[in-house]
């Protein structure tokens, strides 16, 4: 791409966020993360590194986990975005959120939105993941607090609860 942020004009981009249709006017290369946080007020996704390493900005785009710090908003056009804010319904926590709460999966909480979205994606693909699959499935999401063990417990517990509610 030859155009840069400063010389390219803004454009309108349409997508759905947590099921609602949204339109934003932004520079095409603006990061989806900034659009979600600053334009749409959805501050659940966090910036930990800004270079695709930590996963704290992870959201679902057409059911695929993406690091929103690496996604130019233009690329999100026409897709369905799902963020942590869309997970709990009518005040009731999603099974994954509840399991994180019960098992100690969130300490400082900064990695948690990304970690939970990664878990939702993982359980969507593999409803009964093995420990190896959990480790692998979350390896794009860094957590500095928990040492991951309680996150693994939370994921396993969520899988159990979803299977037998």
């Amino acid at each position: 791409m030859t155009s840069t942020k400063d010389c390219a004009g803004k454009c309108a981009v349409t997508f759905t966020v947590n099921g609602e249709a949204r339109q934003v006017v932004a520079y095409p290369m603006a990061r989806l993360l900034d659009i979600l946080r600053n334009e749409l007020g959805l501050t659940g996704a966090k910036e930990g590194c800004g270079e695709g390493e930590c996963g704290s900005c992870a959201v679902l785009m057409d059911d695929v986990l993406v690091n929103s710090c690496l996604v130019p908003v233009l690329q999100a056009g026409g897709t369905a975005i799902f963020t942590i804010e869309g997970l709990a319904s009518e005040g009731k926590l999603h099974a994954v959120q509840q399991a994180f709460l019960d098992c100690g999966g969130a300490q400082c909480g900064i990695c948690t939105p990304g970690m939970i979205m990664a878990t939702v994606e993982l359980l969507g693909k593999k409803p009964a993941p093995s420990m190896e699959e959990i480790r692998e499935g979350l390896s794009g999401n860094l957590c500095r607090c928990t040492g991951y063990m309680q996150i693994f417990s939370a994921v396993a517990e969520a899988a159990r609860r979803i299977a037998a509610p």
């Binding site: 946080r37 800004g50 270079e51 942590i84 994180f100 900064i110 693994f152």
Partner: protein
């Protein structure tokens, strides 16, 4: 097993350990839901970067590109319309140009002189964040460079090039000397004298939330700071000095904080100063959020260290005496180095009985960004040396790693290196037995030794036994003079008032548990006030694993006081129900307006400490642990895998099993990074790999099953018998892993971090220390 001791293992996701936690009716000891947990799992928790104020500007910091220099000239490029920007320099500081902490030697903005790379020089602010980048690049700074020192050895002046004095008269921030017995007399009678040198590298805290602050300034109201921080009152003190303002004209509010680990203990004062200076000059609120690269390059890290041991033992391996020299690299300014040094010095002798010992230590200055607080605070460094050295002594004497430790363990009534009598019911041998049993140590060791002789993949087992003092050192708690409060609200619920902060460890939850248990009301009817220096008393910094033990006890006393007030007012009778309490509390507030009870720290009468001689009760109590690591080494790639990890500790009463386990596992994971992954690459005093792509912390696929077990000996000082817990797990894993590595492949590595390329080099050369280190046998 002694009577009265209770042990339990934690559930491991791998399903290997047993859960025998006793479920009781009480709130303390139960894994209640964490107070701010719901907000964290729904994305509603508000961190500093989630907050915006009307009219807010974004701030950025122009930093030095050299390690040591005089600033000759600062020029502003013509390509930028500077009228759009707010520019702040040292000349804009209304008070003293320093970040007040211990020595006040660190400027808030460099004024003429540069002492390390990334030192702040100028501040810029603009309504649009992206415009700051271009402007920063357009500021040109001309330097007259001066010779810099960037390592401990250069600072000591050991290099042939001579010595450059960069701080004070001799580059030394602080020294300590601990003497016990007469070490000079032991050498002639020693069967063996064992020497060793050990070193540890810098480590980045790598909290996933970068540092960030928002500041506002009002000529009448003064300075207000919101931020990601550990110690609101540290920031408060620093702002008073920087702006020459009285106490009530500075307000500091902690936002939800996304990890800290010591890394947000002192540096937030710097960022707060910067944001507030910009706010004062512009008249608008200013937000400064570091990006990852800036956070890693410019803010504090764990102090690199070097430790030398010389130990005299008898024919059975019993320690007769020894000398330890412990040195840490403090970076360019004093910051907290003296305190880190103190803890490292006191822990240098490990959990062993030394009839005679001399420990000399010093913190030296270098031209690198100041090193600072990081979980463990000096102890992981000196204990790494002690525990590697213990294995070395075992080899020289010809006994096993567990036996050498057993023969030297501290026992009740013996004294530590500071001559503190062990008055607790410590039983380290029991911990050793149990850790060996839990890890299946003996059987595995036998199996591995046999298999290693022929097999490709090498396996090994390693042990570390250690202690960690809880709370501030020596007279520290007395000076802190902490206060905690408990408030009864109009609706009959209760709020805990402390400046102790939550950054993942569970402060909010555990302090509410203590208040609820003490008042005999439900956990749900107790909340914690947001740390705000206008609303909560100074309960001291949230560091040194002191919160549950020291502040928890204050909350307990304050809660008792509150109950007493209600009883005294005739509103409550003994044996009351939770509902009766609620009614009484609401009634009192309706009648009298306010219901608050405070408690101030009282030094236990049996705690004595001599700051001059560094002698006495260094800590009110200690946590004790034995960790066992099992590793395997892939000969083709030199990659090390930890196959199993057992962390067994005695931390007093476990107030919240899930949080406690989380603290231990998280600490072990960071310590595994410290040992095997996390290497800061330095170039001229600057961190070169300041990104997550090239500074590697463990991911979920790197870690072994970390199996956590607790034993309880009991502690009279803490709240409901709790001791500190947060830092302990940082101390043991690195030496246990390196001990296991030596067991696996016979190479004696004495420096961490130990990456595959370092292991390769060590194996190729027969060990990095083969010439320097040898067990001398007399």
């Amino acid at each position: 097993m002694r009577p009265g001791r209770r042990g339990h293992g934690m559930p491991c996701p791998y399903g290997e350990s047993v859960m025998t936690v006793q479920r009781n009716e009480s709130i303390v000891g139960a894994s209640v839901a964490r107070k701010e947990g719901r907000d964290k799992v729904t994305g509603r928790a508000r961190y500093i970067d989630d907050m915006t104020l009307p009219g807010m500007l974004f701030g950025a910091t122009v930093r030095s590109s050299v390690a040591r220099a005089k600033i000759k000239k600062i020029s502003f490029g013509a390509e930028i319309n500077w009228d759009e920007f707010v520019v702040v320099s040292a000349a804009d500081i209304p008070g003293k140009n320093c970040i007040a902490l211990i020595l006040d030697d660190q400027p808030c903005l460099a004024d003429g002189m540069i002492n390390h790379p990334e030192e702040p020089i100028l501040l810029l602010a603009h309504p649009e964040r992206h415009k700051l980048w271009k402007a920063m690049a357009a500021v040109k700074i001309d330097y007259e460079e001066l010779p810099a020192v960037t390592t401990i050895e250069e600072s000591e002046g050991g290099l042939a090039s001579g010595r450059e004095v960069i701080w004070g008269a001799d580059n030394i921030f602080k020294t300590f000397l601990i003497e016990k017995g007469d070490v000079d007399s032991v050498w002639p009678s020693a069967a063996h004298i064992v020497e060793g040198e050990y070193s540890t590298g810098a480590q980045e805290q790598l909290y996933i939330e970068n540092n960030g602050i928002i500041a506002a300034f009002d000529p009448a109201e003064g300075v207000t700071i919101w931020g990601s921080l550990q110690c609101p009152y540290y920031v408060h003190k620093a702002m008073m000095k920087l702006f020459a303002l009285p106490e009530d004209k500075v307000r500091v509010v902690q936002m939800e904080t996304g990890g800290a680990f010591g890394g947000k203990e002192e540096y937030p004062s710097m960022i707060a100063g910067h944001a507030a200076l910009l706010a004062r000059k512009s008249g608008r609120p200013v937000k400064i959020i570091y990006d990852r690269a800036e956070d890693m390059a410019a803010t504090t890290k764990r102090h690199p260290s070097r430790t030398r041991h010389r130990t005299a033992v008898d024919g059975d391996g019993k320690i007769l005496g020894g000398e330890i020299e412990f040195v840490i690299d403090g970076g360019a300014y004093a910051t907290l180095s003296s305190v880190v040094l103190s803890r490292g010095t006191i822990h240098a002798g490990g959990p062993y009985h030394w009839p005679n010992i001399r420990i000399r230590s010093k913190a030296v200055a270098t031209n690198v960004p100041p090193h600072g607080a990081f979980r463990g605070f000096g102890a992981p460094q000196s204990l790494f040396a002690m525990e590697r050295h213990m294995d070395r002594i075992a080899q020289v004497v010809g006994v096993s790693a567990s036996e050498i430790r057993r023969r030297n363990f501290l026992r009740p009534e013996q004294t530590t290196t500071t001559q503190q009598k062990v008055s607790e019911e410590v039983n380290l041998e029991f911990l050793m037995d149990r850790a060996l049993e839990l890890s299946d140590y003996e059987a595995k060791k036998k199996r591995f030794t046999a298999a290693n002789a022929t097999g490709e993949k090498k396996r090994g087992m390693g042990i570390a036994s250690f202690l960690h003092g809880a709370g501030f050192t020596g007279s520290g708690e007395r000076y802190l003079d902490s206060v905690a409060g408990v408030e009864g609200c109009a609706d009959g619920t209760v709020r805990v008032l402390v400046s102790s902060t939550e950054f993942g460890q569970g402060t909010n939850t555990v302090l509410c548990q203590i208040a609820a248990e003490t008042l005999k009301i439900s956990y749900d009817s107790v909340a914690i006030a947001q740390p705000d220096t206008f609303a909560v008393p100074n309960s001291g910094p949230t560091v040194a694993s002191r919160t549950v033990m020291v502040v928890g006890k204050l909350v307990h006393s304050a809660a008792l006081g509150l109950r007493q007030t209600l009883v005294g007012a005739g509103l409550l009778r003994d044996g009351y129900s939770a509902e009766e309490f609620r009614v009484a509390c609401a009634e009192y507030v309706a009648k009298c307006g306010v219901l608050k009870s405070y408690a101030r720290y009282q030094a236990p009468p049996d705690v004595f400490w001599d700051d001059e001689k560094y002698r006495g009760e260094a800590y009110a109590t200690y946590a004790w642990a034995v960790y066992v690591a099992e590793v395997s080494v892939e000969p083709a790639t030199y990659s090390v895998a930890i196959e199993d990890f057992v962390a067994l500790q005695e931390v007093g009463r476990v107030l919240h099993p899930i949080l406690a386990e989380g603290q231990i596992v998280g600490g072990v994971a960071q310590a595994i990074g410290f040992a095997l992954y996390e290497k800061v690459v330095w170039e001229g005093g600057r961190m070169r790999n300041n990104q997550m792509t090239n500074y590697i912390m463990p991911t979920s696929s790197d870690l072994p099953p970390i199996r956590v077990f607790f034993e309880e000996f009991g502690n009279p000082h803490g709240a409901y018998g709790a001791k500190g817990i947060g830092e302990l797990p940082m101390d043991g894993p690195a030496p246990a892993i390196l001990n296991a590595l030596e067991d696996a492949c016979g190479v004696r590595c004495t420096a961490i971090p130990m990456l595959p390329e370092d292991l390769f080099a060590a194996m190729a050369h027969g060990g990095p220390d083969a010439t320097v280190l040898s067990g001398k046998t007399q």
